[in-house]
């Protein structure tokens, strides 16, 4: 089984539109959206959710007000300033979490700010009164859905939650399980932006990473950082320059850079209003347009299939 991960260093390069367009071209595959922080692929693939599953992130400290003697030891040892003495901590009520430790009594109690708490458990270890327990925290959901283009595993992390890396790992595991079940040869994964923990979790062990970039100084800068990261994890990289004709000079510079680095430029996609139109109508580009961008994506897909085989064989 092979896995194609589409990443971009930064959001907004057209990564998700491209994944949807590839999804409409590839056969026998499973789709995964690992951008769990701001999942968007479902907007283009119109999934019918078949199963909803809870995701538990790191635990958070909870203080039992009846046992607490207000000695203040926990606040001393907490390095994240997550313990407040009395003033009700501001709790996020965002999707999928309600660690409401806030029994608001008239006497001030020590409380845990669930946003600041990293779940290290140091307070629970040191509280002399045994008043602190660590409770695992419902941090989001992941879903298996049916789409016109094949099964999709996607997720949504609750607001202000950490642990997106863990949720990414969960999504990838499920995608692999589904791919095996369905005898699919390929998983196409929409990766998270950036180079932080969610990207690291989505990179490890993929067959090929396609980095989507734009011909701008910022795009180039982000490309360099993400290529370094992929290198660090020994994942082969192919590059796609989106809207290359908006700044042809910059595109040429990026191509020259790729050549120097030994990176294949698998495709160049021109600016085309059809892309925005497809997005607004919420359909994959290649399912609704025969325009210049759609044609370029088809050529990209041909070249990616070759790159995938190459990467797979050299593993």
């Amino acid at each position: 089984m092979q896995e194609l991960l589409v990443i971009s260093g930064k959001g907004g390069t057209g990564k998700t539109s491209l994944v949807a367009a590839l999804a409409a071209l590839a056969e026998d595959k499973v789709l995964a959206d690992c951008d769990v922080d701001a999942a968007d692929l479902h907007l283009l693939l119109r999934p019918e959710v078949e199963s909803v599953n809870e995701f538990y992130g790191s635990s958070k400290a909870v203080i039992n007000a009846d046992l607490c003697t207000r000695c203040g030891r926990c606040r001393e040892v907490c390095r994240y300033q997550a313990i407040t003495d009395g003033a009700p901590a501001r709790a996020l009520s965002g999707s999928g979490q309600s660690p409401s430790s806030g029994s608001r009594q008239s006497t001030p109690v020590f409380q845990v700010d669930p946003i600041a708490c990293e779940g290290c458990g140091v307070c629970a270890h040191t509280c002399p009164a045994g008043a602190i327990t660590m409770k695992s925290n419902l941090a989001g959901y992941w879903y298996i859905s049916a789409t016109p283009y094949g099964p999709l595993v996607h997720a949504q992390l609750g607001l202000a939650e950490d642990n997106s890396g863990k949720l990414v790992t969960q999504v990838r595991q499920e995608a692999r399980r589904l791919a095996e079940e369905n005898n699919a040869w390929l998983i196409i994964t929409d990766g998270p932006p950036g180079i932080g923990c969610p990207v690291i979790s989505s990179l490890t062990g993929v067959t090929l990473a396609l980095v989507v970039t734009e011909p701008t100084v910022a795009g180039w800068h982000d490309l360099e950082r993400v290529v370094k990261l992929a290198d660090h994890f020994k994942v082969p990289v192919a590059v796609c320059i989106n809207k290359y004709d908006l700044a042809p000079e910059k595109s040429r510079e990026i191509e020259a850079y790729c050549y120097e680095q030994g990176l294949a430029v698998a495709g160049k996609i021109p600016f085309d209003v059809d892309v925005a139109r497809a997005l607004v109508n919420a359909v994959p580009l290649t399912a609704c347009s025969r325009g210049i961008a759609a044609t370029a994506v088809e050529a990209l897909w041909d070249s990616l299939q070759v790159q995938l085989v190459k990467a797979f064989n050299s593993k």
Binding site: G9, G11, L43, H125, L159, V217, H232, A247
Partner: protein, 288 residues
């Protein structure tokens, strides 16, 4: 005053807003730009600051004295992040996993654990003309952004205007950036993606209790749904920047709108005046 510019997602033009606003206002008042998008800081590519100093950001990670350690394993039991393992009576540490909580040193019965600083990124500070500038950058391969963001935010000066370029998304790094701001500008695009991400971002700032408004970028490439949503939710839309191939080319070369199209200066000054008005309105409503 601290204004944070955020968006549910990257690539919507956060950096464009931050840099143009900074350049438009720097003639009138002291302005500071803090780029907290520490995974991919880009503001410096447009403001071209001269960097004067660079400082490492470190986390305290454990160092185990093998003469004192008897391999009891209490430290690895206590570590919630699996940054310590005991194998064959010896402790192995994984500094990339460590959150620097200090728990292992606290629980070690032999007093065998001390802490040493482990580099996770840098903060660089400098000056871009009249604009004071700082940004953070995590080391490639190191997953922990919030400590680097906090280190950048420590550079916030008291006077004048501080503009923070936040990381994308709505998870912990963004919260670390938006927290304690006086105002938050959410940059979005008029597409289904833009709307979806905007709704998430609105949920986040509302929970943090920071007053906010919206800027719509590439406003001519899309539909009306974002504006309709803002109207329904009574969220002010303070500025719209249409898509223009010339603007895209300006951006591609690392130039700012207000430099090449001076007409935009007034628009960004107007944006600032609106923000000032909304901040004082919010303060009145909040009763101080």
């Amino acid at each position: 005053m601290i204004i944070t510019v955020a968006s549910g997602k990257g690539g919507t033009g956060k950096t464009t807003i931050v840099t143009n606003l900074a350049l438009a206002l720097a003639r009138k008042m002291p302005v500071q730009v803090l780029d907290c998008d520490v995974e991919e800081p880009n503001a410096h590519l447009f403001l071209h600051p001269e960097f004067q100093e660079e400082e490492e950001v470190t986390l305290p990670v454990p160092e185990v004295d093998s003469n004192k350690c008897d391999g009891c394993g209490k430290c690895s039991e206590a570590c919630a992040f699996h940054a310590l393992a005991v194998a064959g009576g010896r402790v192995i540490t994984f500094p990339e996993m460590c959150h620097g909580c200090g728990g292992c040193a606290l629980v070690c019965p032999q007093g065998a654990i001390t802490e040493k600083p482990h580099r996770i990124g840098v903060v660089a500070r400098g000056q871009a003309g009249r604009i004071a500038f700082a940004h953070g950058m995590i080391d490639v391969g190191h997953p922990l952004a919030p400590p680097v963001i906090k280190a950048v935010k420590k550079r916030a000066a008291g006077e004048g205007l501080t503009l923070i370029d936040a990381p994308p998304g709505t998870s912990c790094p963004v919260v670390a950036a938006v927290k304690d701001s006086d105002f938050c500008l959410l940059v979005t695009e008029p597409t289904p993606f833009g709307l979806n991400d905007l709704k998430l971002a609105v949920g986040m700032v509302r929970e943090l209790g920071v007053p906010f408004a919206v800027v719509i970028n590439r406003s001519s490439l899309g539909d009306q749904r974002v504006e309709r949503y803002c109207r329904q939710e009574r969220i002010p839309v303070l500025l719209k920047i249409p898509f223009d191939k010339r603007y895209a080319a300006t951006y591609a070369r690392g130039k700012c709108l207000v430099e090449e199209y001076p007409d935009w200066v007034a628009a960004f000054v107007g944006l600032w005046q609106e923000i000032e008005r909304l901040v004082s309105q919010h303060a009145r409503v909040a009763g101080n």
